[in-house]
Amino acid sequence: MPKLKSLDELRELRSRLKHEIKARTETATTITVGMGTCGIAAGAREVMQAFLDELSARQIDAHVVTTGCIGMCSKEPLVDIQQGNEPRITYGNVSPAMVPRIIEEHLIGGKVVQEWAVGRLVKEA
């Protein structure tokens, strides 16, 4: 690791490093992947992996969390996206291919991909 010559180099390093411990830092968006046994069977793991790769490629800080089976087995694999205190949007039958678009439009664009959304959960006050 070459010596840091200035404060800017330190700050540049910090921004890179911050990314790596993002799991422990506060972020606004949380992506929850249903990982019940049925979810896994339906390919939730691949979807999560796609999400992870996409997020790291685009240097986006977002938590990827797994959860148990919510019950809509038909729509597995299910992925919820919660941004700040926006309503929690759940996408159904998510496949790795769909991940880029979801991230593109929803996470970055801030617009829900209506055709794939299967549910909306508004947080009580």
Partner: protein, 628 residues
């Protein structure tokens, strides 16, 4: 680390079985092929000793307590794979029986304000990257690039930061004195000796967040104009030495230590020096003697270390906790720091809350919080059936504050007024089973061993005080011993050369001040109400109260208790070793502590009609029989 981990499992406790737990976790994750996504991080101690080893899963925030290696498969399966919380491993608040799942909701941490211990339990102490990731060395960068040394000193003075070692000397004023002292070679010294029995916050800090101390030292060196620093670590802290060494090497590699730090032209390097197990070396001038390779003996006090300290050169010595505060003050500004704490004691203080309290552990609270809040809200109050008798702060140099005064705020002035002192931060909760005379004897025993022996009042005085106290605890004390003890303590306090000698009498004087009658009881009646002084104590069973439930028989290590079911039981005095196990376990208050003299050997001692002085009633919520 190229790829991105989805979740981090923080094992943040130095419990004995932690290494075993970490390997089990890593193996299981490996086996489940989750190594890419899940990372196991060994962090420093997070302070929650009573329920160690503890695990926190990020980002979910799940908090598991007392995790055994055997629980690992279930944990990995449920939480890491399926994302479900394992109820079994949740922390259960004793009183409310309600499991608390998230780290943030734990009452233990709720009331705390963790500035110095901020990273402890959060980051991997051996990785400089993680320290930088959470904002490490930003303060140093700010200081080196945008502040002059005088500005740094002014900031520290404005913050009101005072020495965390115990004396509470204003850090800013010390830095200023060192800066103004003549001499081109100056030293910055971090005191990590922490000799007090029962104190381990410096250890947790050095093991958990070494870089915070290093950053603090570099800022101090820039402020006072020093190019060489020493960290004096207690010999009994090998892991602290290891983590500090790794941190220093990493800092050097990153150009944050050594020549021309961050291109600022300021150069500073740090060497670690291990102590040799002498408590006296915690005192600044003795520490410097030890650094110079000499016998740890304090020097004359009128020579200020800031003028002529180590190797007779200006030296700025601060406790490691004081230095760890510096980066935060620089980052968040003096006003932020000054807003915390009381009018004259600013910022927070780390305490080792130990003794008779439900949740002992390492805590950091803002100055001014009352003892009661600390003991009850954070510590969870005394264990069942027990009542807080007093709180001992400041270790062997501190004193005891009786239960009646627990409302006093924790800051330098009020503790000193109460006859104790802030000290390094030891806070021992004592209950009715603790004998104040015995506590004083314990501390003096320690101090007699640790006195450097140089000056007569401390060497000879402590030994003689101890003799009197031992006489009190074994019933050979004579009338007037208490007054002799007091005058002797007064002389040791005034005439001794260094802090050790001057503060050694505090435990004795403060216990006499608040618990004089206990001393008189020991001398006149030869009776130790708490039963701690075994030579004075006898345990007898009160026939009327004893329902013959047999609980005491089970716990007696000597099998000295006999009696039929439902019949009043009987303690054989010849065999009884006065351990008090029966007394603790008996729900019916049927066992009484009586002066040994009142019990003739053999027989039940006249069915327990002890001498007056009511035995302390146990704080029992009714006689409900609880299942074991």
């Amino acid at each position: 680390m190229a790829d991105l981990h989805r979740a981090d499992v923080l094992v943040s406790c130095r419990h004995g079985r932690t290494p075993e737990l970490v390997t089990a976790l890593r193996d299981e994750i490996e086996r489940r092929g989750l190594a890419e996504e899940i990372r196991v991080v060994e962090t420093g101690c997070s302070g929650f000793c009573s329920v160690g080893p503890v695990i926190t899963v990020r980002p979910e925030g799940h908090f598991y307590a007392s995790v055994q290696p055997a629980d690992v498969p279930e944990l990995v399966e449920e939480t890491l794979v399926k994302g479900r919380f394992v109820q079994r491993l949740a922390y259960k608040e004793a009183a409310g029986r309600k499991a608390i799942t998230r780290y943030e909701d734990l009452p233990f941490y709720a009331k705390q304000m963790r500035i110095v211990l901020r990273n402890c339990g959060m980051i991997d102490p051996r990785s400089i990257d993680e320290y930088i990731a959470v904002g490490g060395y930003e303060a140093l960068g700010k200081v080196l690039t945008s502040m002059t040394p005088d500005e740094v000193i002014a900031e520290i003075k404005k913050s009101g930061l005072r020495g965390r070692g115990g004396a509470g000397f204003h850090a800013g004023r010390k830095w200023e004195a060192t800066r103004r002292a003549k001499g081109d070679i100056k030293y910055v010294i971090a005191n990590g000796d922490e000799g007090d029995p029962g104190a381990f916050m410096d250890r947790a800090l050095m093991e958990g967040d070494p870089h915070a101390i290093i950053e603090g030292m570099i800022i101090a060196s820039y402020a006072v104009g020093s190019h060489q620093g020493y960290i004096y670590v207690r010999d009994e802290y090998p892991l602290a030495v290891e983590n500090l060494t790794l941190a220093i090497q990493a800092a050097r590699e990153y150009g944050l230590l050594g020549e021309d730090i961050l291109g600022s032209g300021h150069s500073f390097d740090i060497r670690i020096v291990r102590g040799a197990g002498a408590f006296v070396c915690g005192e600044s001038s003795a520490l410097m003697q030890s650094l110079e390779g000499k016998v740890g003996e304090p020097r004359a006090k009128h020579v200020h270390a800031t003028d002529r300290g180590l190797f007779d050169r200006p030296s700025c010595l601060n406790n490691v906790e004081t230095l760890a505060n510096v980066p935060q003050i620089i980052l968040n500004g003096a006003d932020w720091f000054a807003s915390i704490g009381t009018e004259r004691s600013k910022g927070t203080k780390a305490f080792c809350l130990v003794g008779k309290v439900r949740n002992p552990g390492l805590i950091e609270v803002p100055m001014g919080m009352t003892l009661k809040q600390i003991v009850n809200d954070i510590g969870g109050g005394p264990p069942k059936f027990r009542k807080v008798k007093a709180v001992q702060t400041g270790g062997p140099s501190g004193g005891c504050i009786p239960a009646s005064m627990l409302d006093i705020p924790v800051d330098y002035e009020s503790l000193t007024e109460a006859g104790s002192m802030m000290g390094s931060g030891g806070m021992i909760v004592l209950d009715d089973r603790t004998c104040m005379v015995d506590i004083s004897r314990y501390f003096l025993e320690f101090l007699k061993e640790e006195s450097c022996g140089k000056c007569a009042p401390c060497r000879e005085g402590i030994k003689r005080m101890l003799e009197i106290l031992v006489a009190m605890t074994n019933g050979t004390a004579k009338a007037g011993d208490l007054e002799r003890l007091e005058t002797l303590a007064k002389t040791v306090q005034t005439a001794s050369l260094c802090g050790l000698g001057k503060s050694a009498p505090n435990p004795v004087l403060s216990t006499i001040r608040y618990f004089r009658e206990e001393y008189e009881q020991h001398i006149k009646d030869g009776y130790c109400a708490s039963g701690a002084c075994r030579e004075l104590t006898a345990y007898v069973i009160v026939d009327e109260k004893c329902k013959g439930c047999g609980l005491c028989i089970k716990v007696c290590p000597q099998e000295g208790i006999s009696g039929e079911q439902k019949q009043p039981h009987y303690i054989d005095q010849a065999v009884c070793i006065k351990c008090g196990a029966c007394y603790d376990v008996c729900r019916l208050d049927a066992i009484k502590i009586v002066p040994k003299a009142a019990v003739s050997l053999g027989g039940n001692g006249g069915n327990g009609h002890g001498t007056p002085a009511a035995t302390p009633a146990k704080d029992k919520p009714g006689a409900a029989k609880g299942k074991a």
